[in-house]
């Protein structure tokens, strides 16, 4: 186990391993998402209250889930990179941020599109989930802006890692305060906790979508990490060999 982890942390080994894993992840993810999309759009029975508009949850919920998972991955990797000075972990953190931001954007957009027929408005400040997602998007922007402002990769890694950890401490607090804030004026809620439970033919496509999107996220993440590894290892021999095979001849 430890030897495997040790090997995994070695950039050239990771670079090759990731390349061989991406197609499998992508295919499995696409199969699940394909099933989820078809079943969710055409075979799941319409919700008795929201009719066919509820089908948006099959893309909204996975996006919202990944927006949060992205931050968790980013902060965890940043912490590992900061404590053990592991370049690979920093590469993961740097790659998770733009992906997480994209999924946050998706969660916001699909949430607004869902809200329009349900609430009659594109944006409902009273909904704590949408507001939290918006702040999460700003957190991602801050992280990426800090990275972009620092030219030196090592410095950018470490500085942005501090920011990611500070953000991770604050995310639960932000979520709690937004919940408190919106509870003061009872806003319309889309899904009540413990409300109408969704089951069977409605639930399976949702699980497939969540799992499938996670696999696609992993594939996209690994692809980005490979690029980041190349940047961090640009002076290493194996990278030179990789970009110019005939040089060693």
């Amino acid at each position: 186990m430890w030897t495997f982890l040790h090997k995994l942390a070695s950039p050239p080994y990771f670079y090759k391993l990731a390349a061989s894993m991406i197609p499998w992840l992508a295919v499995a993810g696409l199969v699940l998402v394909g099933y989820g999309t078809v079943a969710g759009l055409f075979f799941a029975p319409p919700d008795y209250q929201q009719k066919d508009a509820f089908r948006i949850i099959y893309v909204h919920v996975p996006a919202a889930y990944l927006s949060m998972l992205g931050y968790v991955v980013m902060a965890t990797a940043a912490g590992i990179g900061l404590i053990w000075r592991m370049k690979l972990a920093h590469a993961v953190a740097a790659s998770a941020a733009p992906l997480g931001a994209w999924f946050t954007f998706l969660a916001l957009i699909t949430g607004a599109i869902w809200g329009r027929p349900m609430w009659g408005t594109w944006w409902e400040w009273g909904d704590p989930r949408l507001t939290s997602e918006l702040i999460l998007l700003f957190l991602y922007f801050g992280y990426m802006a800090l990275r972009a402002a620092i030219d030196d990769t090592t410095k950018a890694d470490r500085a942005s890692a501090v920011l990611a950890l500070v953000g991770a401490v604050n995310v639960p607090i932000i979520h709690f305060s937004v919940e408190w804030w919106s509870s003061l004026h009872q806003g319309p809620t889309l899904i009540r906790a413990g409300g109408p439970a969704i089951a069977g033919p409605m639930l399976w496509p949702l699980l497939a979508m969540i799992f499938g999107f996670s696999l696609l996220f992993a594939a996209l993440l690994l692809g980005r990490v490979r690029t980041e590894v190349l940047i961090r290892e640009r002076r290493a021999r194996w990278v030179r060999k990789l970009v110019y095979p005939e040089e060693t001849a």
Binding site: P46, K51, V59, W102, L106, T110, R224, T227, L230, V243
Partner: protein
């Protein structure tokens, strides 16, 4: 055609799905473009280094 209209919510449902898959495709394209750009930058760097080495020889 009944399927497409989604009980009157067609515009919303289809836009949400189109945006989601659009962003997914965009993510893939963005990642690939970045990888290619980094690769070509690294290649250029090797060439520059080699030229410098030959000059000094």
């Amino acid at each position: 055609m009944e399927v497409l209209s989604m009980g009157g919510y067609g515009a919303y449902v289809w836009t949400a799905y189109a945006l989601t898959f659009g962003v997914l495709i965009l993510c893939v394209a963005q990642g690939r473009r970045r990888h290619r750009r980094v690769m070509s930058e690294l290649r250029a760097r090797v060439l520059v280094d080699r030229a410098a080495a030959e000059k000094s020889r």
